[in-house]
Symmetry: C2
Subunit: 346 residues, 2 copies
Amino acid sequence: MSDSTVDSATGRRGRKSGAPTIYDIAELAGVNPSTVSRALNQPGRVSAATEARIRAAAAELDFHINPLARALPTGRTNTLAVVVADITNPVVFGIIRGAERAASRAGFTLIIAESQESGSLEAATIDRLIPSVDGIVLATTRLPDDEITRIAARKPLVTINRAMDGVISVAPDVRPGITQLVDHLHGLGHRTVAFVSGPGRSWISERRWEALLDAARALGMSVFEIGPNSPTIEGGVRAFERVEASGATSVVAYNDLVALGLIKAAREKGIDVPRDLSVAGFDDIFGAEFISPPLTTVRADLLGAGAVAVQELFRKIGVDAAVADSEELTTELVARESTGPLPTAR
Amino acid sequence: MSDSTVDSATGRRGRKSGAPTIYDIAELAGVNPSTVSRALNQPGRVSAATEARIRAAAAELDFHINPLARALPTGRTNTLAVVVADITNPVVFGIIRGAERAASRAGFTLIIAESQESGSLEAATIDRLIPSVDGIVLATTRLPDDEITRIAARKPLVTINRAMDGVISVAPDVRPGITQLVDHLHGLGHRTVAFVSGPGRSWISERRWEALLDAARALGMSVFEIGPNSPTIEGGVRAFERVEASGATSVVAYNDLVALGLIKAAREKGIDVPRDLSVAGFDDIFGAEFISPPLTTVRADLLGAGAVAVQELFRKIGVDAAVADSEELTTELVARESTGPLPTAR
DNA sequence: CCCCGGTTGGCAACCGATTGACAATCGGGG
DNA sequence: CCCCGATTGTCAATCGGTTGCCAACCGGGG
């Protein structure tokens, strides 16, 4: 045994942050560090008197446990990641908030990562994050299926608005909202509706299209798809020409941003919405009610989707925390003024 | 190598996550784990040949370093936290994005925490986060000064839009934008302007008010403050009555949300913006150009503010990464249609 | 042929917790 | 009075890296 001189006398050398540790508590309370650990998180494992002494010492030192140090032996980080393609996309807003609430309610920390619309950057970011989190929510992913499968094999993972075999998925049911929307348009006299779709590979775009198709057919309306398009205002602007050429009297956009673009392009051509053309979107993003005209849209419970995604992750990793109010995720029509009666003459 | 031997190391004994470690690499490369560590992050410390062998082994195992394990001995987590009061506030969007970009450019991970407008929750969240991060950005804090000081003593900390002694602060200079705005209003014929301020304790609200006061006085305009108000649409709605009573022909709101509320309330009373009343805001939030009427506003470089905040943190913790394009944060007027010529009769 | 300085790699002690195994202690029943 | 089981607390190994210190090794000059 080589005598380690520096040790006992000076105390722990070069403490980096000065944050108190369980060793400090142990010393103050006159017990062994492991007893401190047990007192603090295995209720009943140590005597009430000892526990009280330890808690008092912890309070006195303003002790906060170091989650990193805890994570090492336990393998549990109490952290979840939400990956989004674009933080400024209003859609991820509600998802993040719902997830954040749910996570913090269970004492979990949430990491938000932005992939900046790049699949490879997204994969790299996730690789970096994997060891530090207990689970991953893919809110608006750009990753190909096989890559998602690969990641899901390494960490609990939930996707939002994108279904895949063998991967837990959370998605509000689009049919109620779309059925309401189509009824609404039909009631206004429209008999033909165009769907300005999203990116070619978007799972949710296809779901919306299918639901629209079914609902429109059920009412005997003529319906067709225009796309694919970028899911942005610019995408809507660019799609407008084809909408106009199609002669449709009503148009359902992939999302509110695209709807905004359509309205903008229409205005520039002197076509009035909703007098000459009815436009509806999806998501009911912030501001949808303030624009001119206020946008008719199908709202999804994004907050709920974020919460349910976290809930599913908790279920998978064995945390029992009732965190989402409901698991019924649905959609509903929000009728405003961008849709109106059939144009009498065009 | 199409024939990849089905991984001889089938079951690493009871390892919890199965993620490869430097020990696995060491074994595969026939060296000591410490040599692996050195090869991977102390360039030149090991021979080129050994390093190559180690890197090959790492690649073969698809090794990703465990940031938690690294953080323990080094005390460096490569993680930054951004704390916001309300994730749905459009203002924090740009800040988060700017910070995210800057952080990830330097290989740092960003944690977003929401305090849900509660000071005590914010303090608790930060206490929980402190051991896991290298620095903290307070984007829209609800914390009292002394609490901020307390935290700043424990971790590098930067505030945005709030200055305090002894704490690094980042804030775009409001004067250029406000001067432009006042010139703009004056040029339209307005001689009286009301400021609908933000929360009583808001540092940035006071800065805006002071700048507005100076600029208006310089032009001989009459100017007064109405407040405090909640920084929301609802806050604007509630403040409208007092604006109307004041007889001001132009009003500058604490932010775009408040401006929106004012416009909404005005419309409900049959008062047209901008014909009867000119309204301007701050921040140029998403949607400001689509609402009706498109909002005149003072835009701040929020993206830049987020990036500079991270830059300052890096400086403080000794990371040299040029990450922000510029450190000059300014503001500018974006004139749209919610401001117009002086009402001829009122 | 030996000595020397510079490389290169290994050993072992940490970082701050957790936890299985075990020892000490205590009260109570026989 | 002794033994036994239950309770309480201690020891030491461990998670996955990092790093100071030192030994082995290298080639070259004297």
